[in-house]
């Protein structure tokens, strides 16, 4: 295969892996603190994308904004809307169901996700159709031989990797991170040490959902198009990545994310004529891995668990 094209595929795989990892980390954090699966997580990605889209569009209509300013507005909107929807879902649906079976939370958040999705489809003008996402990042192309990549894509990838790293630092180095891990490991011991259970849970939901909102913005910027149901598949992929990597772990879902994107990319590169089946193959690999490593690639007892 042409090396330039190969590099193109690899770059795309890295980008997808980063986005999957960012979404998967959220699933893992929620499971870590509360042993719940928050299935609306994928749709929070969509909320982030549409909030950035709306905010950037609104600002552009009101005033001619410079690129960086419009980007900043979009970023704040994506993060803010993500965090807000996470906190609302956590407060109204997840905390009240704390003592209910986990499947109830799964069902409630699955429905909440549908509500978010339909609200976007029906609430946004012409919301059923794909929307062109504005180019908020600097234009330009980097070339190396037959490989070319947009500067915007490079920025998105680097920012995404930085966010993955930053999340790791938040969990391991900050007071919030310490509280999150304490509650995840023994909520009674954490409370006896003065950690507020509710605040920590909501903090976790804010953090994880902020990441989802950011993933939405990244997807919009990368594909230049957003869609009311863009979060559905991403939610399932993120969940799968978290499970295969190890729910409740921090490194696990990141590994899972790159693994999933890696398999997708491999299928596209090695068997181009079957690339339409890349998701099928990737999910089959995930199923096989879950069979081989029932508690995830990162083992239950490991220090890598949140």
């Amino acid at each position: 295969m042409d090396p330039g094209l190969l590099a193109q595929y690899l770059f795309n795989g890295l980008m997808l892996g980063t986005i999957y990892a960012i979404v998967a980390v959220g699933f893992s954090l929620f499971f870590g603190v509360l042993d719940v699966i928050k299935f609306s997580h994928g749709d929070v990605v969509t909320v982030g994308a549409f909030s950035a889209f709306g905010a950037a569009g609104l600002m552009a209509a009101l005033a001619t904004l410079s690129g960086p300013l419009a980007l900043a507005v979009g970023l704040i909107a994506a993060l803010g809307a993500g965090a807000l929807s996470g906190v609302i879902i956590g407060r109204l649906l997840v905390l009240p169901l704390k003592n209910a079976p986990g499947v109830n939370v799964l069902l409630a958040t699955l429905m909440a996700g549908t509500v978010l999705r339909e609200a976007i489809r029906l609430g946004v003008p012409n919301g059923g159709n794909p929307k062109p996402f504005p180019a908020l990042l600097p234009e330009g192309v980097l070339k190396a031989g037959s490989f070319s990549v947009g500067i915007d894509s490079v920025i998105i990838l680097l920012a995404g990797l930085a966010v993955v790293l930053a999340t790791h630092l938040v969990i391991t180095r900050t007071r919030l991170g310490l509280s999150i891990r304490a509650v995840a490991q023994d909520e009674e011991v954490a409370q006896l040490a003065g950690v507020s259970f509710n605040r920590t849970v909501l903090g976790t939901f804010a953090l994880g959902s902020m990441l989802a909102g950011l993933a939405g913005l990244m997807l919009g910027l990368y594909y230049r198009e957003i869609n009311f149901n863009m979060g559905v598949m991403l939610g399932i992929i993120g969940f799968a990545c978290a499970v295969v990597g190890g729910l409740g772990s921090l490194i696990g879902p990141i590994i899972g994310g790159f693994l999933f994107a890696g398999v997708q990319t491999l299928v596209t590169v090695v068997l181009p004529f079957t690339s339409a089946y890349k998701d099928v193959v990737a999910f089959a690999v995930i199923i096989a891995l879950i069979g081989l490593f029932p508690t995830g690639l990162i083992a239950e007892k490991s220090s890598e668990r949140v």
């Binding site: 310490l178 490991q185 954490a190 409370q191 006896l192 007892k301």
Partner: protein, 248 residues
């Protein structure tokens, strides 16, 4: 134990449990239990397995809801207050089984105990003091708490409690499962903490050593207080020993 920071001011608040009835699901486990832990003293609660000692501790700390009755600490009524708020009032707990946060290092466990303290310098001084008091923990500061020995775990559980800068420390069977050497060490620490001015509520099954160290005591049987008094009086009560402690 040596201390570098100024000793804490004398404890002044009394813990009062008045007529508490509580339990799990339908069944009541505690029936109209009243106890007091006076400031600066060691109060012990003795009783056989299943007497309701841990349940009493849990209801004081808001972990098992109180159905009837009330709990007060100093001027604050803390009945069914959120557990973290009770902790913030100055009550530290060394829970049953000397629980630690297993996938965190020793240092991180202590930091969790220090989360209530916003002042970095005070926190650092307190951490330093813990390492002076428990040199073993200093050696193992970067080891995962889940890999500590039982004795080390009990030290860590106590140190984590002290990191919250409490006035009252509640111990739920700290000597359980420890070797005789560590049991003596735990009792030595409890006595030392009293001398430093802390108020202590000590749940134990180790009758002799507990009455030896405690000032006041209560005996719990089947969820009721069946005897109370100074520990000297309890120790001298032969009938009590025959009836509840299986000593003949």
């Amino acid at each position: 134990m040596s201390r570098t920071e100024a000793p804490r001011p004398e404890a002044s608040r009394r813990l009062s449990v008045s007529g508490v009835t509580t339990g799990y699901d339908r069944a009541d486990v505690l029936h109209d239990v009243s106890i007091e832990a006076k400031p600066g003293r060691i109060t012990c609660i003795l009783g056989a397995n299943g007497a309701g000692k841990s349940t009493l501790i849990r209801s004081i700390l808001g972990l098992t809801p109180v159905r009837r009755g009330s709990v007060a600490f100093g001027g604050d009524t803390i009945t069914n207050l959120a557990t973290h708020r009770i902790a913030a009032l100055g009550i530290a707990t060394v829970p049953e089984g000397n629980r630690v946060l297993p996938r965190m290092t020793v240092l991180e466990n202590l930091k969790v105990g220090g989360l209530l303290e916003k002042d970095r310098h005070r926190l650092a001084a307190r951490m330093e003091r813990m390492f002076e008091t428990f040199p073993r923990l200093k050696e193992r500061r970067n080891q995962l708490a889940g890999t500590l020995s039982g004795g080390e775990r009990s030290m860590l559980s106590i140190a984590r409690g002290l990191m919250t800068d409490p006035e009252l420390i509640v111990f739920d069977e700290p000597s359980l499962g420890l070797s005789p050497l560590f049991v003596s060490e735990v009792f030595r620490i409890v006595r030392q903490l009293k001398e430093e001015g802390y108020t202590i509520l000590l749940v134990e099954q180790n009758v002799r050593q507990t009455l030896d160290v405690a000032d006041d005591g209560y005996v719990l049987a089947q969820g009721r207080v069946v005897a109370s008094g100074t520990s000297a009086a309890l120790a001298a009560d032969g009938e009590l020993h025959k009836a509840y402690f299986g000593v003949h």
